[in-house]
């Protein structure tokens, strides 16, 4: 497989402008003749579908939820970065670019990241024009807050509901197009396969989740904005429905899957409380602006937090990383929490927790100021834990939150299958081995509003596609495969529920491929996952029928795909014999326990190519060159 990144030449700050000029255009009158399928209605898919329709294309948009407004982008709390330098604190496009490349531990493509930093500025303008109610200062100007991994204040926010407000902006733009008839929306519809004809993506096959009908949709180009695959761990901060099926089906049809082992463990989540637990809840990273993270100095100190005097507390992030302190990047803060808990100094009933304490901020700023900044997050915490964080420090622990890996894309966001484009968390493009806080929203909207809307024209104008219709044998074959898989699920009637398999897979992934990984553990996981998959196909119980709303059947399909993807994640983690960002291999660390990269051997994107059922996937490498940001060990000390 050839990986052509198609990065334009020239100085980095001119590449995107130059590329936009060099790309072919589609005549306005011809745009409506092209049908574009967008799968997913979150920040990337929703904004992309709305913008493509505005431009005049004929758009079909699909989501499995009952409304496009429910895509999981809605749950993002803290904010969105932009290099506006409204605070006059030394920010610039170049600094955002630099911070993002460094934050990603030098495993992302420079040109993509630079473009992202450039577009960040336009995104804020666009969102304000749409009526996103960002936080304001008394004079009416926009307010900013700080976020992890940066020393400037460049994060724009709408209370603790920034993702919700940005998504509603995109959703409203999308609904406007739906009202005009330029987008046809298919809610409660799940993509179950990608159809590739003569090497080119020409459509998808879907299941109507209400009626069970399997339907084929043809198109001139397909855009996947279907989010990340964090739910392979079962417990994560992702929504219950978030799944990898669309990208996994595309992978099996020939799209390379890049860096699957780069998973982000977020340091501030509410700890797990019991076996019935169905998901973990994030507490925004913005809380680390004013909250101080600590554990008792002594092992097994069971005193309530207010009885532990200051001298017997270890504010370990401030101690270990004095210049970034509590705002150390996510991967670093998570590993530090794991380390102190492994030492037996964790707090709470399970010992898997650390304190996030607002006492000194409340003393300094007053309760009202803290309520103004974080009121809704504090309420959410209290609702879940029944503890009042204004009085008792929050207890937090790391949890799976985001996946930097995803389908490989070139500079145009096109996968290795021509005509298949991938946007947002579903692609691998901008975050390297670790994503900085408030960058996911930025990337989703940059991809949807500004990049795909430009690059897709170049694809459509570059070649003439023969007409296809849904009676083509490739569509018929995909439909038949789905029907037979469904029949198989429903006919096993075994002794275990889908969730019990999912939970067991999650345990394997968390134990052996979670916050820290080693060769022996990964080898173990690579033994356990195929066994579990075999048992799944022999003993799963999927009740009900195919021709109605059947949530167990939906889950079974998603878990079957996770059972394959989990294996690829472990394989990628095994092959990457270095530590970088969220991927921490115990064998490769500095004497003080930090990630130790091996740039000589591993400065590449690992793009895995499907080689057929039961065959080992093929590893392709896209070398990464760093012309602008010098390779260096990341230091936040």
């Amino acid at each position: 497989m050839e990986l052509r990144a198609r990065v334009p030449d020239g100085p980095i700050e001119k590449k995107w402008d130059k590329h936009r000029f060099e790309m072919k255009l589609v005549n306005p009158a011809n745009k409506r003749k092209f049908t574009i399928i967008v799968v997913g209605s979150g920040l990337a898919g929703g904004s992309g579908a709305a913008t493509l329709a505005e431009l005049g294309y004929n758009v079909k948009c699909f989501c499995f939820q009952d409304s496009p407004r429910r895509a999981h982008s809605i749950a993002a709390q803290g904010g969105i970065n932009a290099a506006k330098n409204y605070q006059n604190d030394g920010d610039s496009v170049y600094r955002l670019f630099y911070d993002t490349v460094k934050g990603g531990d030098f495993r992302s493509r420079e040109a993509n990241v630079y473009r992202l930093a450039q577009l960040s500025v336009n995104i804020i303008d666009q969102c304000v024009a749409q009526g996103v109610p960002f936080a304001r200062e008394y004079g009416g100007l926009l307010a900013n807050r700080s976020f992890g991994g940066a020393q400037v204040s460049r994060t724009f926010y709408a209370r603790g509901q920034t993702g919700q407000q940005l998504l509603l902006g995109a959703y409203q733009a999308l609904e406007r197009q739906i009202g005009k008839g330029t987008v046809r929306m298919y809610p409660r519809t799940e993509m179950l396969d990608l159809v590739v004809i003569d090497g080119v993506a020409r459509g998808i096959v879907t299941r109507n989740l209400i009626t069970g009908a399997i339907e084929s949709h043809t198109a001139d180009a397909v855009v996947l904005g279907t989010g990340g695959y964090g739910n392979v761990f079962y417990l994560s901060t992702n929504a219950k429905g978030s799944n990898a099926t669309a990208i996994w089906r595309a992978y099996k049809r020939g799209a390379a899957f890049a860096n699957p082992c780069y998973t982000q463990i977020h340091p501030t989540c509410i700890p797990k409380s019991g076996e019935y637990q169905s998901k973990l809840t994030l507490m925004s990273e913005s809380l680390r602006n004013d909250g101080r993270v600590w554990v008792p100095l002594a092992k097994g100190d069971k005193r309530p937090p207010n009885q532990i005097p200051g001298a017997e507390r270890d504010y370990y992030l401030e101690r270990m990383y004095p210049s970034f302190g509590n705002l150390a990047p996510r991967d670093i803060a998570s590993r530090a929490a794991k380390r102190v808990c492994d030492e037996g100094r964790g707090v709470g009933p399970t010992g898997l927790g650390v304190y996030l304490d607002f006492a000194s901020a409340i003393q300094r700023l007053g309760v009202e100021a803290i309520r103004e900044r974080y009121g809704n997050l504090f309420e959410m915490y209290q609702r879940i834990t029944d503890e009042n964080p204004y009085v008792v420090p929050m207890r937090i622990y790391p949890a799976v939150h985001y996946t930097m890996g995803g389908l490989w894309v070139d500079y145009n966001l096109m996968s290795t299958i021509p005509g298949l484009h991938v946007v947002g968390e579903a692609n691998f493009s901008d975050h390297g081995a670790n994503r900085l806080g408030a960058s996911a929203l930025m990337q989703g909207l940059a991809d949807g509003y500004y990049i795909i809307s430009n690059t897709i024209a170049d694809y459509l104008a570059s070649g003439k596609l023969p007409p296809v219709d849904a009676t083509h044998p490739a569509f018929r074959e995909a439909e038949a495969q789905i029907a037979s898989r469904t029949t198989r699920f429903l006919s096993i009637r075994g002794t275990r529920t889908v969730d019990s398999f999912h939970r067991e897979l999650g345990n394997i992934m968390w134990e052996y491929c979670g916050m820290s990984r080693n060769e022996e553990g990964l080898e173990t996981a690579l033994q356990l996952i195929p066994k579990l998959r075999e048992e799944f196909w022999r003993d799963v119980n999927v009740p009900g029928s195919a021709d109605t709303l059947n949530q167990a059947l939906e889950k079974a399909g998603r878990v079957a795909d996770f059972l394959e993807l989990g294996e690829l994640i472990c394989l990628d983690a095994l092959e990457r014999r270095e530590s970088c960002g969220g991927h921490f291999r115990e064998e490769y660390q500095t004497p003080d326990g930090e990630a130790l990269r091996d740039d000589e051997h591993f400065a590449y994107v690992a793009a895995w190519e499907y080689a057929g059922q039961g065959r080992r996937p093929i590893l392709n490498k896209e070398p990464l060159d760093f012309e602008y940001v010098h390779l260096a060990q990341r230091s936040y000390k």
């Binding site: 009952d66 109610p133 809610p187």
Partner: protein, 257 residues
């Protein structure tokens, strides 16, 4: 903890439904209401029965998917709480709990506790937006928004589109949902050019979907998991009156050539 559930079961839109009794045993008080439902569904599956269908996704009170009428209250007994954030410690051990779908004419039942809320999307499509095509925006700080307006807009914009307001309303009105969007956009300078056009279109579409009218019972603001105030409805009504009084005929021909 142990509970007796009486749950609405309905195979599909056209079929009759009924309340069916289930036992939920050994439930942790820390479990959420949906996690309790998960436990019941796991047991049903292993007994070979069909699990109870219900909508849910983020399980942190922001996506607006979950929607259950619990003991006759939309999202259950706690104030400002969606079903997914309701915990079993809020119920007495041994309690009998009634669980039903939203019952609103404009939300037909899909299956068991799932209803079709697409009417809410269509109200937004009718006018719940600011027309701002991608690319033409001026610098964000060129538009000054007084903090108090930004805060009021945000209070209204917090709506998660769950439909609890309509489910709680004796008239089956989605006025709180509609008014929240109208208030959000009307509080902001960016929302002014389309302000009157928007309110007329959205209110007309709300009625056309079969939702009832608002007679200020106030049940909606008690049920709302985001505690959106009924003041937004007063705002909507005020704008609606101004809009109908000040309505100017739109002409298609302006600006062409």
């Amino acid at each position: 903890m142990n509970f007796t559930l009486r749950v609405w079961r309905q195979a599909g839109p056209g079929t009759p439904g009924k309340m069916v009794e289930y036992k939920a045993t050994g439930i942790s008080p820390e479990a959420s209401f949906l996690e309790m439902m998960d436990v019941v569904n796991e047991q049903l599956t292993l007994k070979g029965e069909e699990p109870i269908a219900f909508d849910h996704d983020c399980r942190e009170g922001i996506c607006g998917s979950c929607a259950m009428m619990i003991d006759g209250m939309a999202h259950g007994p706690n104030k400002g709480t969606a079903t997914c954030q309701l915990h079993m410690r809020s119920f007495a051990d041994g309690a009998t709990i009634l669980v039903e779908p939203w019952r609103v004419r404009a939300f037909p039942v899909v299956k068991d506790l799932c209803v079709d809320r697409s009417a809410l999307d269509r109200i937004i499509a009718a006018g719940g937006f600011i027309t701002a095509a991608t690319g033409g925006a001026r610098d964000a700080n060129d538009i000054l928004v007084p903090k108090v307006a930004a805060d009021l807009a945000m209070d209204a914009a917090a709506c998660i589109g769950c439909g609890a307001c309509a489910a709680a309303c004796p008239n089956g009105s989605a006025s709180l949902f509609t008014a929240a969007k109208i208030t959000h956009l009307a509080e902001l300078p960016q929302g002014q050019p389309e302000r009157f056009r928007r309110v007329i279109a959205m209110v007309a579409h709300h009625d056309a979907e079969g939702f009832g009218g608002c007679t200020f019972h106030g049940e909606c603001q008690i049920a709302c998991p985001k505690e959106i105030s009924i003041d937004t409805i007063a705002h909507m009504n005020r704008d609606y009156m101004s809009a109908t009084a000040a309505s100017r005929e739109e002409k298609a021909a302006g600006g062409t050539g």
